[in-house]
Symmetry: C2
Amino acid sequence: MKIVASVSTMQRRATQWRRSGVRIGFVPTMGYLHAGHMSLVQEARERVGKSGRVVVSIYVNPTQFGPNEDLSRYPRDLKRDLQLCRAAGVDAVFTPDDAQMYPTGKNSTAASAFSTYVVEGCLSQSMEGVTRPTHFRGVTTVVAKLFNLVLPDVAVFGAKDWQQAAIIRRMVADLNFPVQIVVAPTVRETDGLALSSRNKYLTPEQRTQATILHRTLQQARQSVKTQPVPATRLKKSLAKFIATAPLGRLDYLEFFDSDTLQPARQVQRGTHLALAVYFGKTRLIDNARL
Amino acid sequence: MKIVASVSTMQRRATQWRRSGVRIGFVPTMGYLHAGHMSLVQEARERVGKSGRVVVSIYVNPTQFGPNEDLSRYPRDLKRDLQLCRAAGVDAVFTPDDAQMYPTGKNSTAASAFSTYVVEGCLSQSMEGVTRPTHFRGVTTVVAKLFNLVLPDVAVFGAKDWQQAAIIRRMVADLNFPVQIVVAPTVRETDGLALSSRNKYLTPEQRTQATILHRTLQQARQSVKTQPVPATRLKKSLAKFIATAPLGRLDYLEFFDSDTLQPARQVQRGTHLALAVYFGKTRLIDNARL
């Protein structure tokens, strides 16, 4: 397994692979890998086959964090990440640093510093985009950069970040990136909590109550099993349900179309539900098609 | 010579070329080709060699025109363009249409329509960006799309659009596009007027006076030949000089560093000068390193 820290080396290597007809599967991550990430790696391998190359990037991208978010304390454990990747048969781990990804310019004039962003202006405006107004601009920008550096045929994203996956798909379609986007199912703990590197922040009490997200999804599925329900009414009853986890504080809960993310007024089987709940400073998200 | 109208065909063909190790040279244009464009084609050929492929795109990109600009009346002559390309040994002309480049979505919900832009936020703020506030967003977006569709090793831009070339270079560096950017010298009429598809709009009187742009560059070069001159003073005297062409109306005239586009307070040999002058509704631009 190659560990590539240099942007230019990564691009050169990927170009060589492409030239020699090798298929490239890509899993972009912020590290602190868990079984959810590893399922994406497995998916990537299945897509490109034994003869292909699977690349995992590990980069905590500063531009997708807001000023009061957890950039500095975001959990990191590169050594363990590399062990997991090696064990999973990853071919290359790409670990660039900020100076390479966002150069500030030789002569530190504003004009020679990083100044180009990829901005999705529609799907990014709801849900995560409300609480985290510059988040998706950071995500689309870094993913565009990573696509140009890793040159993947296939890139795999997790369904837990459903809005992110929809925005990436939109970006790929709009800017014609020659990349197939695959969204792989959320991996959960046995009690239903979606795997996330941020689960590490939770106290034992918070961890116990954090199953409220998953249970809310189940509750909602149950509610619309036999007939449609108006979104406002269901939202109210689910908010009450979430209040049964007293350490949790609801950030948002939205019903929408799985593909277009257009809000749904009537909730029925097949409608998508996403929610975010704070436990202290920790913000957890989850979603499901009902 | 292949004429490719389909986005997916273009990308498939480019992918095949890349896979087989063929180098791709690219000249993006809005058509109505003139000797300036053809010099870019020649440059592209020299860069990729006989065994390479040269692709010219002809697409009048709506997103780089402002609401009161000349999108609908922009001159077009595809038949003549194709003849010129064939004669110049171009391998493929890419002629997409708006429906393919900016899809409005199957079910015409806002969420399924085009919504991703590439935005350069620094170099795009001066000169052309003042008069044409959404222009460069359109340029960077369409060039990013075209790069992903044509997959060039080298792309050639004209020095006449100096600010545009600087912004494209910035975008390529910031987003890590695996493309080498070449800027080829401005081609001029015998009386010094820079070739431009928009010269067609000029009346005979305007055409005669339009040499004022080139003469202003020469005048400026003369003024700083022996010693530096404060930018404000030189700007004033050049504005007076431009007034000797009574059909012209100065839009802007700026001194700056050739690479960073940072404004220059002192003008000397090597400082860059760019200007835009209206003749009626027609806006001409030119620039030179003094």
